[in-house]
């Protein structure tokens, strides 16, 4: 099952990358990042079957970081929405010179 799990992980990661590159809604782009983190978690779990429980510990850390990232990222999106009234990435060019 290791091969299949790693292949599934790669497919999910690719779908996440495609979503990040093609979608223009900031919230959906964030969710695509979460999907990519999940794909990485899947390969961690699949490999932890062979190499010991360290992979599962790493997955727990990844979940914590994902929760922190979601909180901060969504706060940034809300704060941008207050200024621009939009979450479309085309309208978000605050850092452009």
């Amino acid at each position: 099952m290791l091969t299949e799990a790693l292949a599934l992980s790669a497919v999910l990661f690719t779908i996440g990358v495609i979503g990040v590159l093609t979608r223009r809604n900031a919230i959906i782009v964030f969710m695509c990042v979460e999907l990519m983190l999940n794909a990485v978690n899947l390969s961690f779990i699949a490999l932890s079957r062979l190499y010991g429980a360290g992979g599962q510990v790493f997955v727990i850390f990844v979940m914590t970081v994902a929760a922190a990232e979601a909180a901060v990222g969504l706060a940034i999106i809300i704060s941008i929405f207050r200024h621009r009234e939009s979450v479309n990435l085309k309208d978000i060019n605050l850092l452009r010179g």
Binding site: M1, L2, T3, E4, A5, L8, V11, L12, I15, G16, I18, G19, T22, R23, N25, I27, I28, F30, M31, C32, E34, L35, N38, N41, L42, I45, A46, S48, R49, L50, Y51, G52, A53, G54, Q56, V57, V59, I60, F61, M63, T64, V65, A66, A67, A68, E69, A70, A71, V72, L74, A75, I76, I77, I78, S79, F81, R82, V87
Partner: protein
């Protein structure tokens, strides 16, 4: 090497949940409405939780359902509703009669299977394949994860609390309304 003999039932469910995960993630990237996309992503996360349980990471599977599907996605949906971005269209994507029938059948079949397998006198080795390495040999399911977490990775675990504190403070500061300066 490790998959010389896998029971058919196990492989079938592995592929089933894998295919549902791929299909749901494709549906997730193609949805227009953020709420529908979030719900499809929840489906992906549930499928991954099932796969984690099948790969002997039961604790991580539970955490996946509680933290990812239960907490992080709720925050996402909450922000979508706060910003009023949800479309007025009906949320459910599976609207045709056959789609609903298929979904109901799949759910009922899985529930019936759980009921049947928990009561059957089958040898468990026929249902669940043997571990290549006995990861959770001591301390049970949670002890196998908690041991390394609180020994080798103790420093990282403590730093995680700092990270969460910083993230909470940052979120509150960013989300606060600007006072008149």
């Amino acid at each position: 090497m490790s998959n010389d003999f896998l029971p058919l039932l196990y492989s079938f469910h592995f592929y089933l949940f894998g295919l549902i995960a791929i299909a749901a993630s494709i549906a997730f990237v193609t949805r227009k409405s953020p709420v529908a996309a979030a719900l499809w992503l929840v489906v992906v996360m549930f499928c991954l939780a099932a796969l984690y349980v099948m790969m002997d990471a039961q604790f991580v599977g539970v955490m996946q359902v509680l933290v990812y599907a239960g907490a992080i996605m709720v925050v996402f949906v909450f922000v979508v509703m706060l910003l009023n971005l949800g479309e007025a269209a009906p949320l459910a994507d599976v609207r045709s009669k056959w789609g609903r029938l298929l979904a109901g059948f799949l759910g009922l079949a899985l529930v019936a299977e759980i009921m049947a397998l928990t009561r059957s006198p089958l040898d468990p080795r026929l249902v669940v394949p043997q571990l290549p390495v006995t990861v959770n040999s001591t301390g049970g399911i949670i002890g196998g994860v908690a041991g390394p977490l609180f020994r080798e990775y103790l420093l990282a675990f403590e730093l995680t609390s700092v990270l969460l504190l910083v993230a909470i403070t940052g979120a509150v500061v960013l989300g606060r309304k600007r006072s008149a300066n």
